[in-house]
Symmetry: C2
């Protein structure tokens, strides 16, 4: 039995390598993928692998941060698609295989007015 | 010495209660707060408490999920401001007190075309 952190590391390495059989092997057969921002859900390994395989763009990723405890992992992943950069934050549950993923894709936005006496831009 | 998970639970409970002295007590004096989406940064306990105290709206929160390991915690928090609902995802580091927070605020968006053969809406 592998711990979930190692499984999630393997999941991301396989995604970056487009190695879909290794990728599939990190997933439970009844894995559930949820996107709370669009309220989309994908159920089952086969569909979820297909979703990733079909995902458009020459995307590349690196893990920025990972936090793990038994049965739960969160990753903060930095993606580039050409010159575009974005973050993906993913909550995983599972044991040796991944049984659920909830994904967030926060977009850049302009700071609201009235707080620049407390903040600096970087 | 408290573990960081307990500190983060206290941090959110104090924010919800507007108990700014307990809130301040969860923070290291040189805490750094970062918002990657706006590229804003706030340095120091005093300014960061002020930022929260001044934050507009009658916001309320509940912790949806939390993942912790020694020195690192992530929380997925559900916020309501009147009828509006949103998520906040926060990466914390620290020991007994919080030394850094990186916050993400993902917004709802419409699903891109071409993947509804794999997804369902919920």
């Amino acid at each position: 039995m592998t711990d979930l952190r190692k499984t999630v590391e393997r999941f991301w390495a396989a995604a970056e390598a487009r190695d879909w059989s290794t990728f599939a092997d990190t997933l439970a057969e009844d894995v559930v993928y949820t996107l709370p921002q669009t309220r989309e859900r994908i159920t089952g390994r086969e569909r979820y692998v297909e979703f990733n395989r079909e995902y458009p763009g020459d995307w590349h990723l690196r893990i920025e941060r990972m936090v793990a405890e038994p049965g739960q992992v969160v990753s903060w992943v930095h993606f580039t698609v050409g010159l575009e950069e974005m973050y993906g934050i993913s909550f995983f549950t599972g044991e040796d295989r991944i049984t659920s993923i909830s994904d967030f894709w926060p977009e850049p936005y302009e700071p609201p007015a009235g707080r620049d006496h407390l903040t600096e831009r970087y």
